[in-house]
Amino acid sequence: MPDTTTAIPPQAEEREFTVAERSQAQLVFRRFLQHRAAVVSLCVFVALILLAYVGGWLWKYDAGQYTPDNSVPPSWEHPFGTDSAGRDQFAQVLRGTRISLQVSVSVAILATLVGTLWGSVAGYFGGWVDTVMMRISDLVLTLPLIAVAAMLAHNFGGTWYLIALVIAALYWAYVSRVARGVVLSLREKEFVEAARALGASDTRIILRHLVPNALGSILVNLTILVALAILLETSLSYLGFGVTPPDTSLGLLVSEAQTALTTRPWLFYFPGLFIIIIALTINFIGDGLRDAFDPQQTKVRQ
């Protein structure tokens, strides 16, 4: 998408035709707005973040604070009920959401940075550099993620940022494959060749053509990675290798509640529901971004 100038219908009054340049970002934004599920998901997701950070701060109970009400079902006083020790589950779920979000967003950013750098260097240089670097990524990919993460997290983990580090240390390999593929295909594109023929330097080609064009795929991948990371983090916490008390995460809350499913089902349903809402909205946002960045792909699919 090197051509970013498009004529728009006349909006200004004084002239008959007004041609305004639209930036790439504006185009992407407009296309994103056409994806209804993605827009709704984005609103829900932002609302959820606000609820977790601002709502948790405003809410009358703190997470982990003991109230006199033990094991009460959801009510106005305790929207998500309380556990057997009298802790307000709403506050707990909000804190779990904060930690789970922090882990997954850190994983997505860290893995994307390392993976993109790794993959694009491999793709850009090609040859034996590419072979060696991609074989290393392949090696990481042969290990079942959750097993290695559990092994590493058992002795190094516990706090949320260490868990994030462990997961990111494994996820970058996925990103590097995507980034390499993008760089490889972009390197051969006609507009890169055209730019080179016009006398553009390597730096200009990379900054003006490769990076903006690769940004879409990388951003889409980053979004999806947040969803994957939150599922892995909650699974790890469920197995007992993730975030440990007194910290909490959505996975840990589900894990603690599973024995009480018959007596206090609200403890089980709400954290699970929050995991699903986060992963679901992020997947839809990713889908919308993919369509927005790559309109050609949408046309093929329809």
Binding site: R135, D138, L139, L141, T142, L143, P144, L145, I146, A147, V148, A150, M151, L152, H154, N155, F156, A227, L231, T234, S235, Y238, L239, G240, F241, G251, V254, S255, Q258, L261, T262, F268, G272, I275, I276, I278, A279, L280, N283, F284, V300, R301
Partner: protein, 326 residues
């Protein structure tokens, strides 16, 4: 084709060897097998710790330990466990047989579901069915495997309470003690498989059906399919003979490459349904800092993953002749 196959097989061997070293080094670096002994209250006597150090080869350097572990594997010896009476090799073999039936059946069900639903949603694109299936697919993609498994387990328990007998098994891979007679034993095993298999299959199917749908749509819009229609073939015939065959080729690769995440899903599923399989073995080994057991588990998992990657490459070569000569 033979040369291609031989080349790919030869290439897998160094990958496996390097993977085994990384696994062993990571396992040894991340856990101290003697820590539980040292942290015991009252602490274990020094001579016990010294004896354990020698028994677990901890007095030797990492490389020596690695080579004796790797060499032992060829003779069926997977190294000493922290539980002195345990034999890692035979334990893993038993567990492997338990887990493989869960994974194999779940993958089969997931594949059939993915192909049927993927094709139907592609054929009836933008219909009510398409929207429902797509939404359900997104929902399963967003659902944590353990949460769904716990829900299914609870549904099974409530069903049992409603009918008043143990109609669906919710715990373990076989009754304790196992029933007498081959027929009764097999029935019992199948009864225990129902819920975990459904749970693992549904979690895996979502991504695959989305993939089948996209790949089917792409094929149905291609020129040669239009040509087949133009020369007068029926829609159904074009769909099955020309469309589906081509659309399924990339799916073989995707399923084969997903094996690592299915193994991960099986670990969680087994944990929920309290199966004594590979998943339970891994979790227990990690908790006990049983380095040799954890490394052996990971080596088996890595071997399975590499074997599936190899299979995917070879299958792709068989299904798509262009690959062989590339």
């Amino acid at each position: 084709m033979l040369a291609f196959a031989v080349r790919r097989i030869l290439y897998s061997i160094p990958v496996l060897i390097v993977a085994s070293f990384i696994i062993f080094a990571l396992g040894s670096a991340s856990a101290d097998p003697l820590a539980p002994l040292r942290e015991k209250n009252p602490p274990a006597p020094q001579n016990v710790i010294d004896a354990e150090t020698v028994r677990l080869h901890l007095d030797q350097p990492l490389l020596a330990r690695y080579f004796s572990w790797l060499g032992g594997i060829f003779t069926g010896d997977f190294g000493p466990s922290v539980v002195s009476t345990a034999n890692i090799g035979s334990d893993l073999a038993d567990r492997f047989l338990v887990t493989i039936r869960l994974i194999a059946l779940a993958m089969l069900i997931a594949l059939v579901l993915a192909v049927v639903i993927g094709v139907l949603t592609a054929v009836k694109q933008y219909s009510k069915f398409d929207y429902t299936a797509t939404f359900l697919g997104f929902l399963f993609l967003a659902m944590p495997a353990f949460w769904f498994a716990i829900l299914l387990k609870q549904a099974g328990i409530e069903f049992n309470n409603a009918v008043g007998t143990q109609a669906i098994y919710t715990i373990g891979q076989v009754s304790v003690p196992p029933p007498q007679g081959t027929g009764a034993y097999i029935l019992d095993v199948i009864g225990h498989m129902v819920l975990p298999t459904i749970s693992l299959a549904l979690i895996s199917y979502a991504a695959w059906s989305r993939f089948t749908r996209a790949s089917m749509l792409e094929v149905m819009n291609s020129d040669y399919v239009r040509l087949a229609r133009a020369k007068g073939l029926t829609r159904r015939r074009v769909m099955v003979k020309h469309g589906l065959r081509t659309a399924l080729i990339p799916l073989t690769t995707v399923t084969a490459l997903d094996i690592a995440s299915i193994i991960g899903g099986a670990v969680v599923t087994e944990n929920v349904f309290q199966w004594k399989g590979m998943g339970d073995y891994l979790v227990t080994s990690i908790r006990m800092n049983d380095v040799y057991a954890t490394a052996s588990w990971l080596l088996i998992a890595a071997t399975v993953v590499i074997a599936f990657n190899l299979l995917a490459d070879l299958l792709y070569g068989v299904l798509d002749p262009r690959i062989r000569y590339a």
